[in-house]
């Protein structure tokens, strides 16, 4: 139990997928202009990532094994694409507004390197099934956390007197850098 908790805290804070592993920067920059969109994106990614972690672990362990290891990336991508496709239909039905604001970023969860990265890291770290699920959930929660906080910051930044050359994505990148600086404070917390 403590092990799972450590994995969770570790992936959410210490080794945050965005802030310390620098994965998933595309949606992090792209879907953080509005707080509500960011929350929706976070929820969608959490769903996809947790499911993908578990499924890909099962596939890796029971279908691929050692001899078919070369199919890992391929099959993971297929699984992720399937889950994303499902999520897309689900969101389109339940929240058309969210579907529209997420726009291209929703299908792009497929190519979100964080979503592929976490199942691959699971294999690398030789996580068991539950560990993989927790690792996926933690990574996704960490992603959602920074995405949502970052979106709230950007909403305020939007109205700031940022000098012209730094406006828009530029100052957002700088802010992300400073966020990352702050997250370094968690260094040494686990392991």
């Amino acid at each position: 139990m403590e092990n799972y908790l450590l994995i969770l805290i570790g992936t959410v804070f210490v080794n945050n997928i965005v802030m310390s592993k620098m994965l998933g920067l595309c949606p992090f920059m792209g879907v953080s202009k509005k707080l509500e969109t960011a929350i929706g994106m976070g929820a969608a990614t959490t769903f996809v990532l947790t499911l993908a972690s578990g499924l890909s672990h099962l596939i890796d362990t029971y279908l691929l094994g050692q001899e078919l290891a070369y199919l890992r990336t391929l099959s993971f991508i297929v699984v992720i694409a399937g889950i994303v496709g499902f999520t897309e239909m689900f969101i389109k039905k339940t929240s058309p507004v969210l579907f529209r604001v997420l726009g291209i970023y929703l299908p792009l969860i497929t190519t979100n390197c964080a979503v592929l990265g976490i199942p691959l890291l699971n294999v690398q770290e030789q996580h068991g099934f539950v560990e993989s699920l927790v690792f996926g959930l933690g990574g996704a929660l960490g992603f959602t956390l920074v995405l949502v906080l970052f979106a709230a910051m950007r909403e305020r930044l939007e109205a700031a007197d940022v000098p012209a050359p730094f406006r828009g994505t530029s100052i957002a990148m700088i802010s992300a850098g400073l966020m990352s600086l702050a997250f370094m404070g968690f260094a040494g917390l686990i392991k």
Binding site: L68, L71, V78, K92, I104, A164
Partner: protein
């Protein structure tokens, strides 16, 4: 080799089945994007965008056939709202498309010959009058589209900028903040 093909085919089949079920379970009609675009457009029906009215322009935008910066009456503000709706970066209005101050058409009562050409041109039926009778424009309904200017054979229609009065007066943007050179 066979096992690899089997595995991938299996995964594909299962996922395909799930997606197929989901597409039936969560079927939705496409959202009325055209209506939403049309709601942002100012409805002057002026045709400056190159389309015969606001609705056709909205349709063109939704199909991706027209850019969002072709509507001068909507101004840069309108472009911004379209960009927000469509999730694209806003851009300045196209060249030679600077927004003009709001105006209404006024018919010179002495020159009008009652030819009805302007009445046919008016997209919102804001001009009243019958053949060989003097025409006049209902100011509240005029959108200032200027479509009635070219057909007039005697050039008796002119645009009059709407002046603000006590009721429509707006507070200006405060200028107390220190002047910025940048």
């Amino acid at each position: 080799m066979i096992s690899a093909i089997l595995v991938m085919a299996g995964i594909g089949l299962v996922l395909g089945g799930v997606l197929g079920w989901a597409s039936i379970r969560y079927r939705v009609e496409d959202d009325p994007l055209v209506e939403k675009i049309d709601a942002i457009l100012p409805q002057t029906q002026c045709g400056q965008c190159g389309f015969p009215g606001c609705k056709p322009y909205a349709e063109a935008i939704s199909k991706g056939e027209a850019d969002i910066n072709l509507c001068p009456p909507g101004g840069n503000d309108g472009v911004k709202r379209l960009a927000e709706l469509l999730g694209v970066e806003p851009k300045p209005l196209g060249a030679g498309m600077e927004p003009k101050p709001k105006a209404v058409a006024v018919i010179d009562e002495n020159t009008c010959i009652g030819c009805t050409l302007c009445i046919q041109a008016c997209p919102v039926d804001a001009i009243v009058g019958a053949a060989k009778q003097m025409h006049s424009i209902i100011a509240e309904q005029c959108t200032g589209c200027e479509l009635c200017l070219p057909p007039c054979p005697v050039d008796c229609i002119s645009m009059q900028v709407i002046r603000e009065d006590v009721a429509t007066w707006k507070w200006r943007y405060p200028v107390h903040m220190m002047k910025r050179a940048a």
